[in-house]
Symmetry: C2
Subunit: 358 residues, 2 copies
DNA sequence: TTGTACGCGTTATCAC
DNA sequence: GTGATAACGCGTACAA
């Protein structure tokens, strides 16, 4: 089966290559009959245009690429769906590009922009260490989603959309303190993390301070480096160790729902209960947090709205309309059963002296 | 910022384009100093080769593409990881291509093969309705993963790897029957499903028959079409309706773990317990099945092994070695707490006449 | 070891 | 409405 080209089709049809090209690309200035005839031959001979050649030649292409670091992260699923829908609503094509853990997403973006003649780019995940000289190489507008990044002002073609991780983390920990907890374990990222892990840890610290609780390094538990980050298993393993170590605490605040669920399971496996023995809270607002038993108290990020906003802003920039460069969304604390519904105190607190306020 | 090409680089370096090309592509026949000099200039001017042009020109490319229908399906995550690792171990490049729900994966494959000069293709998800004349257009070897498809013998370049869905479904339902259940609800795909939903339903029917239980259409519950298929939410909603309808049963067998978890939650929300009031079983062996509370009895597919095997066979075909065309993996029934651990009968059965055998 | 010239398959720009 | 032809940016015989 030899690769059949546009030239072959032209010959078979007895027309010129440009006419075939016109037929393929729905150009207006072509005889309807000729077009039909050409399309029939194409079908018959199974001709498929070579995309590399098209991309090489085409000047504009109306395609938006979404680069995702961690494609299997359940957090991104619903966002990708919305992005796709919105992009297609604008009659642009949608390219989903997966970026590997060790890969540099900006590098990939630069290549892809040239290869596919992109009109715009969306980054999901990654992007916390911003190498400005690299970012300058992107010549099309791009939006950084879900990472709270401080953008250099001179980057004109760029916007960032996220929640305020520090603030939302504060919100959660403050809530836990008000529930009466004074020994709150935080399940967080590795020490060298400079991304959301850092922000959420800072929110934790500030909330403790605001509630007159001393920051205790021994209650800061970090994910295992030999396991995948932000997985249920990782949350399970570190919590298991924590429990085995006999450390004293009444609540675990995990910086992701997946970690929180792992923590819950470890508690159950140790013969304890949630929330009666330990309260557990997560972060992100994944579906599973709602459907877990007990449902997990979490900070719900408005993912769908954020995705819509990403596309709105991206197209503002593409269309040279004035666009916001930095949008911070408000998240929502969703009270689940894993912290006792926010009303009743877990029995873990019964022996303590703290009263539940509010 | 004008697009800088290989010609510009050549001019800047005072060499010919082929020398630059040699430097980029690590050709052996080039002076080390010249190469270094060229690479420095490239770095300085941020030259990035255009992939479309490369793909167009290159004859061979050593790349494997993995086409995934339903990229956010948690079932595929671990498989993709293994596929990626194995492909890179072979020193081939790895391309992950997402196929949309309404898109035809074979169509996408045909295009991608031409565009990227692929050496091999892996299909994950989709692929149950095999349009043979289309498949013939693929000129490189490909492996269909996770779908139990009967391959036409004349397709030489093609292999399929999966479990035996009917048999494994039988295994599960037979187990449930042996636990004493006689009124087992199956949570399955829509009526028009011709894929795993159909196979697993058939296994259910055969198991009932083998256990002398009459097939009762009213116990066949199908996913809601207006919700996403195989989601927790879908499982939750249909189970909620089922419970509200007051239908009598002692066990729910969901054809995916996500559905099973939704079912559990609906049961909890109705004030009932698992497994004491209703037993629940799932299928697939997702991580969450293990970490849910109670852990969900499920059929665990050996995903990682299957992924390894996919690559092994794909490369057998690429290297023209004799290769198996159809591999059926054995799955494993993992007893969770959601069916009472397989030992004690759920109290739901207490009033019944069935005794637990085995 | 290096440079020139051609062609990969397509689309865009002309003429007709 | 249609056809020839010049790019698009790169890799690679082939000649030097």
């Amino acid at each position: 089966m030899e690769q059949i080209t546009i030239r072959d089709v032209a010959k078979l049809c007895g027309v010129g290559v440009s006419t075939v090209s016109r037929a393929i690309n729905n150009h207006p200035d072509i005889n309807e009959e000729t077009k039909q005839m050409i399309m029939d031959i194409i079908k018959e001979y199974n001709y498929v245009p070579n995309n590399s050649a098209r991309n090489l030649k085409r000047s504009d292409s109306k395609t938006i690429a979404v680069l995702v670091k961690g494609i299997s992260n359940p957090f991104f699923g619903p966002m990708i769906q919305v992005l796709e829908r919105e992009v297609e609503k604008k009659r642009y094509s949608f390219v989903l590009q997966h970026v590997e853990e060790e890969e540099d997403e900006v590098e990939v973006a630069i290549q892809l922009e040239k290869e596919k003649r992109l009109k715009g780019i969306v980054f999901l995940g990654g992007m916390y260490s911003h190498k400005e000289e690299r970012l300058c190489q992107l010549t099309v507008p791009y939006v950084i989603g879900t990472v709270n990044i401080k953008l250099p002002q001179k980057l004109e073609q760029c916007a960032a959309i996220s929640i305020d991780d520090e603030k939302e983390s504060y919100r959660m920990v403050d809530y836990l303190c008000r529930c009466g907890h004074r020994k709150i374990v935080i399940l967080t990222a590795a020490r060298d993390d400079a991304s959301i892990g850092k922000c959420r840890l800072e929110g934790y610290q500030r909330a403790l301070e605001a509630n007159g609780i001393e920051y205790d390094e021994s209650l800061v538990v970090r994910m295992k480096k030999n396991l995948q980050t932000y997985t249920i298993k990782n949350g399970y393993e570190v919590t298991k160790e924590l429990l085995d170590a006999g450390r004293e605490f009444t609540c675990i605040y995990a910086i992701s729902d997946t970690l929180a669920i792992g923590a819950c399971k470890a508690i159950f496996d140790a013969g304890k209960r949630v929330p009666e023995d330990y309260c557990v809270a997560g972060f992100d607002g994944l579906d599973i947090a709602e459907y877990y038993e007990p449902s997990v108290t979490t900070i719900r990020q408005p993912r769908e709205e954020m995705a819509s906003e990403i596309i709105r802003i991206l197209f503002d920039m593409i269309k040279k309309r004035p666009a916001e460069k930095q949008v911070i969304f408000e998240a929502k604390l969703v009270e689940g059963a894993s912290t006792g519904g926010g009303r009743r105190a877990p029995s873990a607190l019964a022996g303590g002296s703290s009263l539940i306020k509010e």
